[in-house]
Symmetry: C2
Subunit: 206 residues, 2 copies
């Protein structure tokens, strides 16, 4: 039975990994899996996987396991990625290029629809299928197009200003590649990607 209590953030953070593993199994032609198998693929305990899923309902069959397609669909709906989210990409540098050309967004619920940059040299240039737009027009475009998700791929020094503009434009989820902490209102979610922080937390153990 769906549990309507508050779901821990840490559980939400694991759902995309379950979903990713299920999509992979699905692509391999598999129909059914178990918490045991997912456990081996993902490195979490099977009990944890079962408990995490139990926050949202009963998806499995006792003695059998989980019907992959059904669990996949359920997770997509829970995470709200069963339809595509339009995203704005801010920053048309090297990272911006890599993100614009990345083909892994669409299959997982996201697509870039606009690209902005502050550099006058870049405005108007083509980047993939998009034309780079000036950051001054961003706020209005975000509102008009009802864009609620954005990616920050600008230098650290510019990131807070960009974040402020995004928030003003109505964005509520920010994927931040700038190596700096952003300050945003509580209603706005930020997911921070810092590869060097990841590297540093590994070298501790070497």
């Amino acid at each position: 039975m769906p549990n309507s209590n508050h779901v821990p953030t840490i559980v939400i953070g694991r759902l995309p990994l379950y979903l990713r593993a299920l999509t992979q199994l699905s692509a391999e032609g598999r129909r059914v899996t178990s918490s045991q198998e997912l456990s081996e693929k993902l490195g979490f305990s099977s009990a944890q996987i079962r408990k995490d899923l139990s926050y949202f309902g009963e998806f499995g069959k006792q003695g059998t396991g989980y019907e992959i397609e059904f669990l996949e669909k359920s997770l997509r709906e829970i995470l709200q990625v069963h339809h595509l989210w339009d995203m704005a990409l801010v920053g048309a540098g090297d990272l911006g290029h890599a993100l614009a050309n990345y083909d892994g967004f669409e299959t997982r619920g996201f697509r870039i629809v606009r690209i902005f940059d502050a550099d006058p040299q870049k405005i108007g240039t083509l980047l993939g299928e998009w034309r780079v737009e000036p950051i001054e027009t961003m706020r209005q475009v975000l509102r008009e197009e009802r864009i609620h998700v954005a990616i920050i791929a600008v230098p650290a020094a510019a990131a807070q200003h960009v974040a402020d503009e995004l928030v003003e434009g109505g964005v509520r989820a920010i994927l931040n590649y700038a190596p700096t902490t952003l300050s945003v209102p509580p209603k706005v979610k930020v997911y921070h990607i810092d590869p060097v922080a990841g590297l540093q937390s590994m070298t501790y153990y070497l």
Copy 2:
């Protein structure tokens, strides 16, 4: 007094963020800070910051706070990023280009020294200051050059094979950009970056 007990992984994961904030303060010309100020900048509680640091020693002065330069230096040593780690980059696609051109590694303890790719079209081409080398020679080069850190920036389908080669070559820390779980021996650390998983964990709340 330095506590020689086991330090929780989650604490290690925060140290790079403390270090990043300290470097920023330092760049602003500041000399002293407090757990309070770091708390505001980073969004962790001041008690947590003090407790985290206490695993490694006593870095502050009661009534005063932390001498920024000293704490920065100490964290660099704890994380072992007071000297540069040589890294291999595997994958010379768009993401590989962005990583090769990224100027944020050196200041934080890392530098790319070799780039490998499987695509014959790319072998021998220049990417920044590096010439792309064939993946067949990677294992030997890693051993010869004593490279222990690597970045995987190849498609998901190729990632496990690359990881196996890296491990064979003696790599013990892998930054993985491929959207798939890698299976490696326990002595090898993997830090996984999956921007879409980050986006999905935010859209849950929208």
